[in-house]
């Protein structure tokens, strides 16, 4: 496995795209940059898949890019209308993800629940991003990056490494913006990131919950995890030293996503236990044969 190649595709490339666009636009294109980084990773991992995507789980990079454009709308200009536009964008994005399941698998109630859960998960991330401005841009960026990184871990444990890599790409983009914000000339307005971050977050978490094996409880924890950004900001701001403030903010942000990851890990491990519940025949040295993931039921349910 080419680990360096994987890092280039899912961390270095999206970070570079986000950094470049944010730097040349004085932060104005930060949202476009993060979404552009996500799209770059998607294309590097899968190649051109055509547009519109056939696979509903491939919408996230495209609609996040639309969210990046929406982020150009200043947060203080007609904020109610801006919020309404964000909600419409989140619901539209959620529909693109849920529609195939609504067509053949979900009842009307389940469809409504999936739409609401996806949109609300995204809205929590968008609101937390916007609200974290202006006091603690750096701490907010760091906390957001860590929330996405933690979400990537939870997705990876839920059976979708591709989803994890996409979440990691957003984390890398936000991490690059955090580094930019550490420089004297690198201002990154968080509201510009809000719609892109919200759409990407909502769709990626929902991809895990609807199309992979992310447990509902882990989804619920991830849905409120972005709110930790606000807590991280306020706790981080109380620290006397900036570095301590950032460390506190980062640690606080990691708590809920760490919990979600632990829930996903427990669910994954319990699947493995069920698989290995039937004793395997011992090996030549008397040790149990087979590995933990081996299906001793031979595919029978």
């Amino acid at each position: 496995m080419d680990v360096v190649g994987l890092l280039l595709k899912s961390a270095v490339a999206p970070g570079a795209v986000a950094l470049l666009l944010a730097a040349v636009s004085r932060g104005r294109l930060a949202g476009v940059g993060v979404a552009g980084g996500l799209l770059t990773t998607y294309l590097l991992l899968l190649g051109w898949q055509g547009f519109p995507p056939v696979d509903a789980t491939h919408w996230a990079p495209w609609v996040a890019l639309a969210g990046g454009v929406l982020g150009l709308w200043p947060a203080d200009r007609a904020p109610a209308a801006r919020l309404a536009a964000v909600v419409v964008a989140l619901l539209g994005s959620a529909w693109l993800l849920v529609a195939p399941l609504a067509a053949h698998a979900f009842s009307a109630g389940e469809t409504a629940l999936a739409l609401a859960a996806t949109a609300l998960t995204g809205l929590a991330a968008e609101r937390a991003t916007v609200a974290a401005e202006p006091q603690a841009g750096r701490a907010g960026l760091l906390a957001l990056a860590l929330v996405f990184a933690g979400m990537a871990g939870a997705l990876g444990l839920s059976g979708t490494l591709f989803g994890a890599q996409l979440a990691g790409a957003v984390a890398a983009g936000l991490g690059a913006l955090f580094l930019l914000a550490l420089t004297p000339f690198g201002r990154v307005p968080l509201p510009a990131l809000g719609p892109a971050v919200g759409i990407a977050y909502g769709l990626l978490v929902a991809t895990g919950g609807l199309y992979a094996e992310l447990p509902p409880l882990a989804w619920a924890v991830l849905a409120v995890a972005p709110l930790a950004v606000l807590l991280a900001r306020s706790l981080g701001a109380r620290a006397r030293r900036p570095l301590v403030g950032l460390a506190v903010a980062g640690a606080v942000a990691l708590v809920p996503v760490g919990a979600a990851g632990a829930i996903a890990q427990l669910a994954s491990a319990s699947d493995g236990d069920a698989a290995s519940a039937t004793p395997s025949a011992p090996g030549p040295d008397g040790a149990p044969a087979g590995d933990e993931a081996a299906d001793d039921d031979y595919g029978y349910e």
């Binding site: 496995m1 080419d2 190649g5 991992l45 899968l46 190649g47 898949q49 056939v54 696979d55 509903a56 789980t57 195939p100 399941l101 053949h104 698998a105 059976g159 979708t160 490494l161 591709f162 989803g163 991809t207 609807l210 199309y211 992979a212 094996e213 994954s268 699947d271 493995g272 698989a275 590995d291 993931a293 081996a294 299906d295 031979y298 595919g299």
Partner: protein, 194 residues
Amino acid sequence: MRSIKTLITTALAAGLLLAGLGGAASAASYKVDNAHTSVIFKASHLGIGTFYGRFNKVDGSVAWDAAAPDKSAFTITVDADSVFTADKKRDTHLKSPDFFNTKQFPTITLKSTAVKPGAKDTFEVTADLTMKGVTKTITFTAKKTGEGKDPWGGERVGFEGSFTVNRLDYGVSYMPEGLGKDVTLIVAFEAVKE
């Protein structure tokens, strides 16, 4: 008198021709027997080894005409969620959006569009393979493995074919460096006359 004779001859010939055509067009219907059907795939892992998997649930129908095999047709429907590689975690991963995305694309179908008889019991089959919402036409050689009555009085016919596809053509594009692009499928099915 001569014209009446000609008329009767013509009518008989037409009748025979029509009867013959009718026989060729009325292929018998068979239902695929899941218990005696195998859909097996193999792919390269890391360019080092080859691993095999199968789909445990297969359904389908066959219209088989022994007298005129070119009038025959079949549709095989595979339950993508029944993928089995003897490793639950790998099966879960294969079902996820990374590969088959079985929640959105629950079935894989192989539907013949032309069956051309070849040498002894072999056929050149042209079929539409649909996977992850992408349909592509493939051509492969199939062999009739047998035909006859089973101990319970049912009539059965069996076929087997093998073909290789590039999974990237079907949007199963993740991890091309880890899992080989070329996937070989063996489809061996038995069908019972309805």
